[in-house]
Amino acid sequence: MSRKDTNRRAEYLMDEIGGIDESYLDEAIRYRGSTVREPLRTTTRRKPIRVLLAAASLVLVLAVGTAAVLTMLRRDEPDNGDFYTADGESKYLTELNRLDSLLQDCTQGDAFRPLAAGAEPDYFDGSVRLTVENRQTGERFVSRPLTDSEQRQVQAEFAASGTPVPTGTQTPDYLVWVLLGDGSVVTPCLNPSVGNVGAAVLFDYDPERLPSDIFTKLLTGMQ
């Protein structure tokens, strides 16, 4: 299907959205966020082989889940003020530039290979991999499967606090995700929570945190 045709259909879809039930429109006008939310439902596909692959990465998923809970508990504690120190912004930018630079170097190394334009990585191959995207060019790179030791570093990263990101500041040039091999996609740049785990999609994000030294050491080892 041509781009023009796709746009025409999307435009048509936009028109039809204009005809949806008025009760939904009214609901959207009046809705105010609730403090109690339903958990997001993931849409992981189910096939027998994938069940086995999911089991293989279960330990890592559980680790991420545990880290999520720990992080959420930690966020409930009083702010220690580090985020708001006078040099907080410069610390963030320094780390952001360092991460971008590391990711750029990684994509040029042997551990990563480029994906063809428009291609998606295999989300269900049972191995844990890193995927990097150049935000400007849209180029994507996927790493070799992580070793056991590297997977432990990834687990440790999600248990670490990382650097909080001030709102409204510079966004990174590179996006990085961890593919868990069972369809789950997470990134060390978002706080580990249920809502920040993707299902078989490389999603766009603005960082909520920057990875700690654990992750930068991992990247350094993969250059």
């Binding site: 936009m14 959205i17 204009g18 005809g19 008025e22 609901e27 609730s34 849409t43 920040n196 999609v201």
Partner: protein, 184 residues
């Protein structure tokens, strides 16, 4: 003033109906139109045109949700104006349309075939009915009201990243749904 009282004014051909509509919904309607058009002046004109359309539509119609009723008119007029002026380019509503291209399955019958049957509209309502309320509201705010992601995040008390990820998943679900229903 309650919606039904304003509707009564329309039915009574009382011009205060428009003033009361504007007091209650004017700000939201201008915001809706402006998010489609990126121009304050054009948005103002579209809202005024919408009040005229509403004036002509009532009596005959008696909307239960006046805000939603007026929103539909404003959105239609704004989209028509947008297409007339810009023909689907980035910025304003163009960005929201571009996102919706992700929901378009690779193959299927053309819009003309679906238009008559009205299947798509009905299917969209069915799709929305099955979404959890928070996701449904997010979808409607983004793709009906063309609200910026930041505003949706503020209204819902979520991070922008969370809203973006959620919208991405909803679009993916919608694409699968439309594919399954052999629509679009």
């Amino acid at each position: 003033m309650e919606d039904y009282q304003i509707v009564d004014l329309y039915w009574a051909r009382d011009e205060r109906a428009i003033a009361e509509s504007d007091v209650k919904y004017g700000r939201m309607l201008r915001s809706l139109s402006q998010s489609c058009l990126s121009s304050r002046e054009d948005a103002e004109e579209c809202v005024n045109d919408a009040y005229l359309d509403a004036w002509n539509a009532m009596p005959t119609e008696r909307p239960t949700y006046l805000g939603a009723f007026l929103s539909k008119i404003v959105r239609r007029i704004s989209i028509d104006r947008f297409r007339h002026d810009h023909r689907l380019k980035r910025g304003g509503m163009g960005k929201a349309v571009e996102e919706l291209t992700e929901c378009i399955p690779d193959a299927g019958p053309g819009p003309a075939e679906e238009l008559e049957a009205g299947r798509l509209r009905s299917a969209l309502n069915g799709f929305l009915a099955r979404l959890p309320q928070e996701k449904r509201v997010m979808f409607v705010q983004r793709y009906f009201y063309s609200m910026p992601v930041r505003e949706i995040a503020d209204r819902m008390g979520l991070s922008e990243s969370n809203v973006k990820v959620s919208l991405h998943r909803i679009r993916e679900s919608l694409r699968q749904f439309l594919e399954k229903e052999e629509l679009l």
